[in-house]
Amino acid sequence: MFESAFCQIVFYIFALLAAGCALGVVISRNPVTSAMNMALCFGFVAAIFFGLGAQFLGIVQLIVYAGAILVLFLFVTMMLDIKAEEKPASRNCWLPSAPALGAVLIGTVFFGLVSNLSLALPGAQDSGCPAKALCSSIGELALSPTAAPAAEAPAAARFGGALPKLDPAAAARALKPGISPEEAAAATSYPDVKLLAQCLYTRYNIAFVILGFALLAGTVGATALARRIRKN
């Protein structure tokens, strides 16, 4: 109980911090400040990944974004010697409505989720109202690629209910198919990296290699673009 309450508190704190840092990226005049805010934001997001049990992704988030990408940004900012913007963007007919658009977008997301939450309450499900179809349509939209059968994850669990708990025993069974129930039950830690690696290097091996090529191409392309072209 304590653990779950702690987790909740940590999530909300990190979520607020991440959102705040994101705002900082947009608001700050100085690109360096923006970059720093972005790094912080990515750090908080990594923390949220940890909270979700996706340790590997959290680490990747830190290393790739907060490490590599941030450094790149800082380098470029330095290289170009960009001064802070003198004033906010010039008067443009679109600008006044931009925050409004963002607000409406956020409002829409909220409204959609809240309406789903209220619909997910017991009794709302089988009322036969069009809202039910609405609810399930969002579910289908969001989950279609690897959607588990609807029976296993009811709408309530998807949106309003708690996320399913991670089970070290199940992880042990997945890693070693022949393991005995006792041994599996004895497992205490959850080997996220192993499980992800098992999936990545089996099912998605080729895609992973192709991703490597894409990165290589990116490197070569970046070098070619950034090379100073000497005339004569």
């Binding site: 679109w94 931009a98 977008l105 829409t108 609405l134 349509s137 969002i138």
Partner: protein, 613 residues
């Protein structure tokens, strides 16, 4: 199968025209041969029918079926004596004109395939009028002859006067055709059918006023096509076309179509349908045309124009006869007139060609010595036209005068006066053109026409002499059961002899033996008026075209400029360009604007998907 043989009358010329136009447009000899063959084949077919060939009623083809049967458009053919004997005139003169054209158009640089295709189209359309078994089909043929006449008058379209004359003929005919179309619709309403066979005996139960209106509307068509006053102005101008065309279309057949149509209606509807009022109008129009045209003809210098006005005047005779309910006499005169007027035109054509396209009679002279055969043929035609006893024209004119005397003596005396004028202007023409000595270089070098021109002239000359006699007229005059009644030596005979003599003597006194080099009657106001065609054309130009039409043109111009151009065309263009400018604001090149818009699109997408709109 056999019963559909008459359709060949239509199909052969149409096929010839199509082939001439499409395949042989560069190969005028083949085109001419094809057209002549089709004309000869239709003539042979026609002769076969007149000789007694009977294939039964041809099939009726329903062109446009309409649920209500009487509104359906049928195409059917009549093979009764009226139609078939008329076909003989059409195909016979048609064939001769085709042959004559070979000689006349030799050395002409225009496209002869087009010319012969036009002739074949005309043969097709004229057959369509003659053989039609209902008014709708008549009307189709009616428009088609107008079209082919337009093509042929404007054959030398690079000549402005020819192009104008073609337009004038076409547009003037439109006026008459407008009335004709109304008349056809009235007939459909009043008689319940457009089919000639269904009209019989229905006139009795119809109010006289309605009948008068119907008949007069239909008469409008004849006024246009047969060039009656006041729509006569196009015919003299139509002489801009090649002379064989004038002979075929503007003398022998097409202009007679109006008379043919009226007689056909008179037979189909019965005399009862032609009320007294209608008859009076028709006869008066005919008489006025006859008198006016004969008067104007006396002061024309162009050989073709003299003949054109003479045609007008003779058509006036025929229309007058129709108005006097003497369809028989009208058709008789139509038939004899077709032969001798075709002869006169072809003769004039030969003269014109031989004088190097000189049409002014005052620049001819002495031709009798240089081209005696042609002139002899021409004289035969003249004799028939001025109704010298023994020639065909005498018998038919006598028939009309008889009918006029019987019904209404006024028309008789008008007819007699016109006969005297006819004699006068034809004698004048012959004296000036053929006697004396040559007054111009062209006439000096004139020589006899070639065989292809002489042969048709000779045949027509024979017909001009004999076609009026009973033994041949009874079989050939386009009227069922025609009988040439032996003329009695009575008042009409003496009067026509008198007018003949009067005209002859007057012309001889005035013009002598062709020694004069200019018209002694010219120079006074009357002559000027006659030369200016009594100012009728000018009146139309000034008042109708310059006045009424100009006002309408201004109104239409306003509609065109303000509403169509200003509002519809430029307005919509303005609106479109404004809208385009508005849209182009979207493409401002601003990255942020693009992002904003795509974000907006995303929002719309989310709302659409999430809330299942």
């Amino acid at each position: 199968m056999m019963q559909n043989l008459p359709w060949l009358f239509l199909l052969l010329p149409l096929l010839a025209a199509a082939l001439d136009w499409v395949l042989f447009s560069k190969c005028s000899k083949t085109a001419a041969t094809l057209s002549i063959l089709s004309a000869a084949a239709t003539l042979a077919l026609c002769v076969a029918y007149l000789a007694g060939l009977n294939t039964g009623a041809p099939d009726v083809y329903t062109w446009m079926p309409v649920a209500e049967e009487r509104l359906s458009l049928h195409l059917g053919l009549l093979t009764d004596p009226l139609a078939m004997r008329m076909m003989l005139v059409v195909t016979g003169i048609g064939l001769l004109v085709h042959i004559f054209s070979l000689g006349y158009m030799k050395g002409d640089t225009s496209n002869l395939s087009r010319y012969f295709a036009g002739l074949s189209i005309f043969m097709f359309s004229m057959s369509c009028i003659v053989l039609a078994d209902n008014l709708a089909m008549t009307f189709i043929g009616w428009e088609m002859v107008g079209f082919s006449s337009y093509l042929l008058i404007g054959h030398w379209y690079h000549k402005a006067s020819a192009a104008d004359a073609a337009k004038k003929a076409f547009i003037t005919n439109r006026v008459g055709d407008f009335g004709f179309l109304i008349g056809i619709l009235l007939t459909l309403g009043v008689f319940g059918s457009m089919n000639f066979a269904d009209m019989a005996g229905k006139a009795a139960g119809i109010p006289a006023a309605l009948l008068t209106a119907t008949v007069l509307c239909l008469f409008c068509g004849a006024v246009g096509k047969s060039a009656q006053f006041p729509l006569h102005v196009w015919l003299p101008d139509a002489m801009e076309g090649p002379t064989p065309v004038s002979a075929l279309i503007h003398a022998a057949t097409m202009v007679a179509a109006g008379v043919y149509m009226l007689v056909r209606l008179q037979i189909a509807m019965g005399h009862a349908a032609f009320t007294d009022t209608a008859c009076a109008v028709i006869a008066s129009v005919g008489a006025i045309t006859a008198a006016l045209a004969a008067l104007i003809a006396t002061q024309q210098d162009d050989i073709k124009r003299v003949l054109a006005y003479s045609t007008l005047s003779q058509l006036g005779y025929m229309v007058m006869a129709v108005g006097l309910l003497a369809g028989e006499a009208a058709m008789f005169h139509l038939y004899t007139h077709a032969w001798f007027k075709a002869l006169l035109f072809l003769g004039a054509g030969a003269v014109i060609v031989c004088c190097h396209h000189e049409q002014n009679i005052w620049k001819m002279g002495g031709l009798a010595k240089r081209m005696p055969l042609t002139v002899l043929c021409f004289l035969m035609g003249t004799c028939a036209l001025i109704a010298i006893p023994g020639f065909s024209g005498f018998f038919s004119k006598e028939a009309i005068l008889d009918a006029a005397l019987e019904h209404c003596p006024v028309f008789f005396w008008v007819g007699a006066g016109v006969a005297a004028l006819t004699t006068f202007y034809m004698t004048r023409l012959c004296l000036v053109a053929f006697c004396g000595s040559a007054r111009a270089h062209g006439a000096e070098q004139a020589h006899e026409a070639g065989a292809s021109m002489l042969l048709p002239l000779l045949i027509l000359a024979v017909m001009a002499i004999i076609s009026g006699y009973g033994f041949i007229a009874d079989a050939l005059v386009p009227y069922a059961g025609f009988e040439a009644h032996g003329f009695a030596v009575g008042l009409p005979f003496y009067v026509s002899l008198g007018s003949l003599g009067l005209g002859l003597v007057a012309a001889l006194l005035v013009y002598g033996c062709g020694k004069r080099s200019s018209d002694p009657l010219a120079g006074n106001a009357l002559s000027a008026a006659l030369r200016e065609r009594l100012y009728i054309d000018e009146f139309y130009d000034k008042v109708l075209i310059g006045g009424v039409q100009a006002i309408i043109a201004h109104i239409i111009e306003f509609i065109d400029a303000a509403i169509i151009r200003g509002l519809c065309v430029q307005g919509s263009a303005w609106l479109t360009s404004r809208f385009g400018l508005l849209l182009s604001k979207l493409q401002g090149g601003s990255l942020r604007a693009y992002t904003f818009l795509s974000g907006l699109g995303l929002l719309v997408l989310i709302i659409l998907l999430a809330f299942n709109f």
